[in-house]
Each structure stands twice: as structure tokens, then as C-alpha cells.
Symmetry: C2
Subunit: 224 residues, 2 copies
DNA sequence: CAAAATTATGGACATACATTCATTTTATGA
DNA sequence: TCATAAAATGAATGTATGTCCATAATTTTG
């Protein structure tokens, strides 16, 4: 009992930065963006007042760093889960949908953080930069997947269908996130996913059903 | 030029309340929720400091009143536009979708306000109460409409389809709002509507097409 | 026209805030 | 072991905040 198991007395500058960012996010989750003060942050981080300005130019820079960190975690997690996905376009789409609705990306904490930043984004261009999940990279990824599927299906106006499928899928995901924010008690990941796949199976009946991508992930898309 | 055309010197208490609420919303739009202070508000309202506490218990009560007012405007406008809609279930759904994407309900100002309140809702239960568009009333309205359509179409599991159609349509609308918030420059009301109707026409091909409800608004839904 | 009620003002107050900085503590390297 | 660098502290500062209230201006009532 002589040496209490307290935190190490001293962190590297990177550890301290990380600690402050996590404490900022904790504060946003617990008391909201507008009540997140330097005092709240340093108390939660168990650091002293001066630390924020030792490692960040000012409070705003810390908030921006926290928004940036959240975006990095989002895209990092998504990329990780995409690695273990099949290579067919249906599998890619399915993985994006299920990951985006999975607990790693969509949970009580993350949803509060995203909507807090979005609520302030229009008043802070630096934060706005990091307030968009599903940005161009993700959009391109599933647009290409839908492009392949639509072309293989041989429907008329296949590019237009692919564009609408992309837009619709991303909008549905956004909508499901909002639904989770406002009704987290009654929210069901399964039914959220089913509705999106219902949309996709209506557009591409040979490639999706209500449970996701059709079985046999590497079915030749071009066979009749 | 003797009597300058300035505002009347004195308002009724209701006018003052309204003025303060509008100024609060203006401030949220211009400088964001967290920068909206009493000083900001009274300056914009061209009233003196004491007025806020004359007509509201405190700043928080004013913010809640502003959130409430926004919700009332939303539902009031929507109800108004529903009055001039056809009575068929398709027409009701079409009106909800087009109203929700129309400029009266979805514009630069309203979207910033909604997302600002949503961002703070989880830290303020009083605001949370008014941060949900598309609440139970609206949900029931279009659920009944989809129920009629699904039953008339005679598909299996028609109630489940109606439930998914409701959830999906509302999620798509939420998603389109988010899209407008984050990419208002590239947002297109027409393509947002087309995507939602693409979803609906896939579920109910005899009742919707890419342009909305099928023509002949009062077609007998039960005919083969 | 006086009295009462309503609407409006802006200074005062304590508190909370972001920021600065002189100082101290701890770790590192010679 | 000591000098130097890195990490950490928390008191101090000035400003901004929400709230209160004594007072004034205006309207309404009797």
C-alpha cells in the first residue's frame, strides 16, 4: 500500500495532448459544447489550468483538435473494417452500411460528439472542416461500387441510378444517425440496416436482399 | 424629416417576447449557440439588458422558448401545406416529402437553428423536448398512409412494409437535411425528392414514380 | 387630470471565463 | 552529481457573462 497506484506523474507532450482532447470530448458528452470550459477540461484530464495553453494555442485550437481527432477515429475505424470486407461491390457497400451502424462508429458517446460539433460548425469554419462524416472519399468509394453494380445490371441510365443510390444510401445513414440521437432508446441497428437494404434491394434486386448483400460474395456480377 | 421613421418606442409584452425570441434565433444563426449571450440578444432586439429577465425567468428559459417557437413554426407550416393536399394516402406522403424539402421548412436559417438546438439537446432536456421534427404526430400520419397503400397493394407482411416505409422516408428526410447543412452549395431539392420517390416507387410501384405520387390523385387504390 | 399599472432602462454585482507567466517539479544527459 | 531541458503548476489579470434592481418613461384606468 506504500505506493498508491496513481497515474504516472508525468506525461510526454503527446500523451498530455491526447489526454486534453479526450477530456474535451468527455466534457462535450457530459455537459454539452456550450458548457465545456477550460476548467471543465483540465479537471477531467486531472491536469492544471496552464496545460491547455502549453499544448494548444487557445481553447478554440483544442476544440478543433478534438473535432479532428473524432474524424480520424471515424475514418480509421471504417478503413479497418473495410479491410476485412469482401472485394465485390456489394460486399463493400454492405460493409460500409453495417460499419456505419455498428457500435464502434455509432454509440451514445460518438453521436453526441458529432452532433455537438455539427451544431457549432457553421459558426466555426475550422470545426466545419471536420464535421462531415461520409465525405468525398467515402462517397467515391460507394459510388464506384454502385456504378459497377448498375452497369452489370444493365439498367437504363445506370450512372444516374448509381448516383441516386449513393446519395440515398448516405442520406439514409445520416437519417439513422439522427434517429439514434433523438430516440436512442427505441433505435434498432437491425431494422435500420434492413431498411437500407430494402432500399438497395429495390434498386438492385439481384445484388441485395433485406439481409444485406446476396450470398456468395464473389458471384460474377456480369452473368445473366 | 422631423419625425424619424424609427420603430415604435413601446411594445406589448407579447411583442417584446417575440422580438427577443427572434433576436435569439438570429444570434444562433450568425454567431452560433455557444456565442449567443444576453448582450448579443438584446443588441439585436434593440432592447435593453433588463428585458430578458422581465419576460423570461432566465437565459435558459428564453432559449427553450426559442426552440419551442421554432418547432411551432415547423409544424404550423407543415399543417398549413397539408391542408391544400389531396386526401389520398399517396398525396399525403407526397406533400410531407415536398414540404419538408421546400424552402419554407428547409433553408439556410432553419437548418442552422435546428442543428444548433440538436447539438445542445442532450445537455438540456427542456430543449430536447423541442429538437425533434418529424415526431409522433407526423410519424403516425404517414404510417397510416403507407398502411393503406401497402394493404391495397396486397403485398405480404404489409404492416412491416408500411413500418419500414415510414422509418425509411423519415430517415431519408433527416439525411437530406443533414446534406443541406453540410453541403448547402451543392444541394438540390429536386434530386433529394427524386431519391425519396425512387425509394417509394421501388416499394410501391403502382403508387409512386420518380416525380412523386402517380397522377390521378384519387385513383381507387383498391382496383387491380 | 391624477393614480395605478405596464413597459423599459442601464448601472451594479458577483461569478466564471480564457489567457498569461513567474515559478517549481521532474526527467535527461554529460 | 550537476546542468540543462522538458513538463507542470496555480495565482493573477482583465474581460465577459447572467442576474438583479432601483429608477424612469409611457400607457391605461378611474
Amino acid at each position: 500500500m506504500k505506493s498508491e497506484d496513481r497515474q504516472p506523474r508525468r506525461y510526454s507532450s503527446e500523451e498530455s495532448r491526447r489526454l486534453l482532447i479526450e477530456a474535451t470530448l468527455d466534457s462535450i458528452v457530459d455537459v454539452g459544447f456550450s458548457n465545456t470550459s477550460i476548467s471543465e477540461i483540465v479537471t477531467r484530464a486531472r491536469l492544471s489550468r496552464g496545460m491547455v495553453h502549453l499544448y494548444f494555442d487557445n481553447k478554440d485550437a483544442l476544440l478543433v483538435a478534438a473535432a479532428r481527432h473524432s474524424a480520424e477515429v471515424y475514418y480509421g475505424t471504417l478503413s479497418e473494417q473495410l479491410k476485412s470486407a469482401g472485394s465485390s461491390p456489394q460486399a463493400i457497400v454492405e460493409t460500409v452500411v453495417l460499419s456505419d451502424l455498428g457500435e464502434d462508429l455509432l454509440n451514445e458517446r460518438s453521436i453526441k460528439i458529432w452532433f455537438a460539433f455539427r451544431g457549432e460548425a457553421h459558426a466555426n469554419t475550422a470545426i466545419a472542416q471536420y464535421s462531415d462524416t461520409r465525405d468525398d472519399y467515402l462517397r467515391d468509394l460507394i459510388f464506384k461500387a454502385f456504378g459497377e453494380i448498375a452497369a452489370a445490371q444493365g439498367a437504363p441510365e445506370s450512372e444516374k441510378v448509381a448516383r441516386d443510390a449513393t446519395h440515398g444510401t448516405l442520406a439514409l445513414l445520416e437519417g439513422m444517425w439522427t434517429d439514434y440521437l433523438l430516440h436512442s432508446d427505441s433505435f434498432s441497428r437491425a431494422s435500420a440496416a434492413r431498411i437500407i437494404f430494402r432500399f438497395l434491394s429495390a434498386l438492385f434486386p439481384r445484388y441485395f436482399n433485406l439481409n444485406g448483400a446476396m450470398s456468395g460474395k464473389d458471384l460474377p456480377c456480369t452473368s445473366s
